[in-house]
């Protein structure tokens, strides 16, 4: 409330040195205040606007004094299946840098599990699960603040809709995240995305004309580097135009927890563990066996063979010999 009092008496000329971002906020709300620095702010701005500004400044200050704790791990405490029986997994801790695959039939409750994590359920969702962050009951900001979203999401249906070049787009995202060294970050995202995508693209390419693989690559690199959310949820990565192992490596290298819903055997074996969902509950947690890992080599070879067939088909060849 002290900020609100200060705003009531502050003169326009002092506003910028006190809170540099206040002017931008006022401009966004259609109030230009540059005319007369000796004017009291309360004479040009309505009470309502000053209330909003005070709120904004409070949030900005807490945002900028960001010595907030880093998310190291998330623990999910089991609740119930759809039939009311307790689910098989009673406690599951996922650490930063881990890739957890989520497998199960359609409609089995994968989305609900991810929603429970995003909402940091406290025994107050239909499943009765609860979630702890770093072993503690989480602060309410994870639910209420749009700056502190726990989960970032990437899925196959997502597209870029803005009419901007890659560079403009990344700049806009960096601005909205109040990122330090935006140029450096943008360069890094572009490099990483190009390393993921088979065919390179330029910084001045319009984002809407990127190919499917390029879009996915840019989304992954951007989410890894610019998004503040500690958990990244991926809904399949199609095996086309993108290096999937590298994509996971980039996310993990940025200290993300990666949750990946997939039906693809190769992708599922790339994970550190996989959670099996059935009838609304977490049935079990499976760690890939050595045998499975060994099979990954064969599966990749199989996959390559399919890719080659696809390529031949595209080139107009017959598939008499496979």
């Amino acid at each position: 409330m002290d900020i609100r009092k200060e705003l009531a008496s502050i003169i326009v000329g002092d506003l910028n040195s006190r809170w540099p971002y206040a002017t931008t906020f006022l401009a966004k709300n259609d109030l230009e205040i540059e005319d007369d620095p000796s004017l009291k702010l309360s004479e040009v701005a309505s009470d309502e606007l000053l209330d909003q500004l005070a709120e904004f400044i409070t949030e900005m200050e807490s945002f900028l004094s960001d010595d907030e704790e880093v998310v190291d791990e998330i623990t999910i405490f089991g609740g119930n299946c759809k039939n009311g029986e307790p689910e098989g997994v009673r406690e599951l801790t996922i650490r930063v840098g881990e890739v957890i695959c989520i497998v199960g039939p359609t409609g089995s409750g994968k989305s609900r599990l991810l929603a429970d994590i995003e909402w940091v359920a406290q025994n107050d969702t239909p499943t009765g699960r609860s979630v702890k962050i770093n072993g503690k009951t989480p602060e309410s900001k994870w639910r209420t603040s749009s700056e502190h979203k726990l989960v970032a999401q990437l899925s196959q249906n997502m597209n870029f809709v803005m009419d901007l070049s890659v560079e403009e787009f990344l700049t806009l995202h960096a601005e909205s995240r109040q990122t330090e060294n935006p140029e450096e970050k943008i360069q890094q995202i572009w490099n990483d995305a190009n390393a993921l995508a088979g065919e390179p693209f330029a910084l001045d390419t319009p984002i809407t004309s990127l190919s499917g693989g390029q879009s996915r690559a840019l989304m992954i690199a951007d989410t890894a580097i610019l998004s503040k959310s500690p958990v990244v949820l991926i809904d399949e990565i199609e095996n086309a135009g993108i290096d999937r192992q590298k994509a996971l490596d980039i996310l993990v290298s940025q200290d993300k927890i990666v949750l990946m819903a997939t039906h693809d055997p190769i992708l599922a074996l790339m994970g550190d563990r996989r959670v099996v969902i059935n009838n609304g509950g977490m049935k079990s947690v499976v760690e890939p066996s050595e045998k499975e890992h060994a099979n990954l080599v064969d599966l990749r070879a199989l996959d390559n063979r399919m890719m080659k067939l696809r390529h031949r088909l595209r080139m107009g060849e017959r598939l008499d010999e496979v």
Partner: protein, 245 residues
């Protein structure tokens, strides 16, 4: 009975979001009803009826939809109480971007979609600015970055609001949203309560059915655009002197 006012631009997903959210309250055996306000046409009342929701619809026709809303909301509240509703939702479209049907002390929700463009939050006036909760829809088809940019634009315009992402098709986020519907105070009447923001001004000759174009037919609350000194001055002395800037 609790009252929730939901508004948002046309096609932003208000009805889908309300339908998905209702389900969670119905599952708790709560009785939820809807009043749908629209201008010329809606068949959303049928959609609500199909899922067993008591519904009333109001079409404002030739009137300003918001003026129509505020002239009828008390009667709707009384209807809801008579129907023994636990929650009454009013749904209305903000058509002129100046609309805001929110009542003080009554939960106010604005629904806006990710596809509407990043400058939209700035364009929408009090409907977004004075809402308690802003629901952002259609997040499943745009990138994470665009969702973050859009949410931060909304936050700039309304730093007080709680911003939530709800998917009207899959229902993602709707359970979480439903938990906030029953937070508000019990309402027995809205008589004597105040709107959060004044309604869009009106009452010029065109409000009263005038169809002819030209200064001599313009009376009442008329405002002229400032096009610089290149145009001839045709302002009528009858126009409001306050608007002569």
């Amino acid at each position: 009975m609790k009252l929730v006012t939901v508004s948002g631009p046309p096609s932003s997903g208000k009805t889908s979001v309300i339908l998905k959210t209702l389900e969670h309250l119905q599952a708790q055996k709560l009785n939820v009803g809807v009043v749908k306000f629209d201008c010329l046409y809606t068949d959303d009342d049928e959609i609500y009826r199909k899922v067993g929701v008591p519904v009333k619809k109001g079409l404002s026709g030739a009137l300003c939809p918001d003026h129509y809303f505020v002239s009828n909301i008390e009667e709707c509240v009384q209807w809801g109480i008579k129907e023994n509703l636990d929650v009454l939702v009013s749904e209305s479209a903000g058509l002129c971007n100046r609309c805001s049907p929110y009542v003080r002390e009554i939960l106010a929700v604005c629904v806006i979609d990710n596809l509407s463009g990043i400058n939209t939050p700035k364009k929408i006036g009090p409907m977004l600015k004075s809402a308690d909760i802003v629901i952002i829809t259609k997040g499943d088809i745009v990138s994470q970055a665009e969702r973050e940019v859009f949410a931060s634009r909304v936050h700039r315009v309304n730093p007080k609001a709680r911003i939530m992402h709800v998917n009207g098709i899959t229902g993602q986020g709707s359970f979480e949203f439903s938990t906030l519907w029953t937070d508000g105070d019990e309402v027995e009447t809205v008589e004597g309560k105040k709107l959060r923001f004044s309604m869009p001004a009106a009452l010029c000759s065109y409000c009263l059915g005038e169809t002819r174009i030209g200064s001599e037919f313009q009376m009442g609350n008329v405002r002229k655009m400032d096009l610089g000194d290149t145009t001839r001055q045709t302002a009528d002395p009858m126009t409001s002197p306050k608007e002569s800037k």
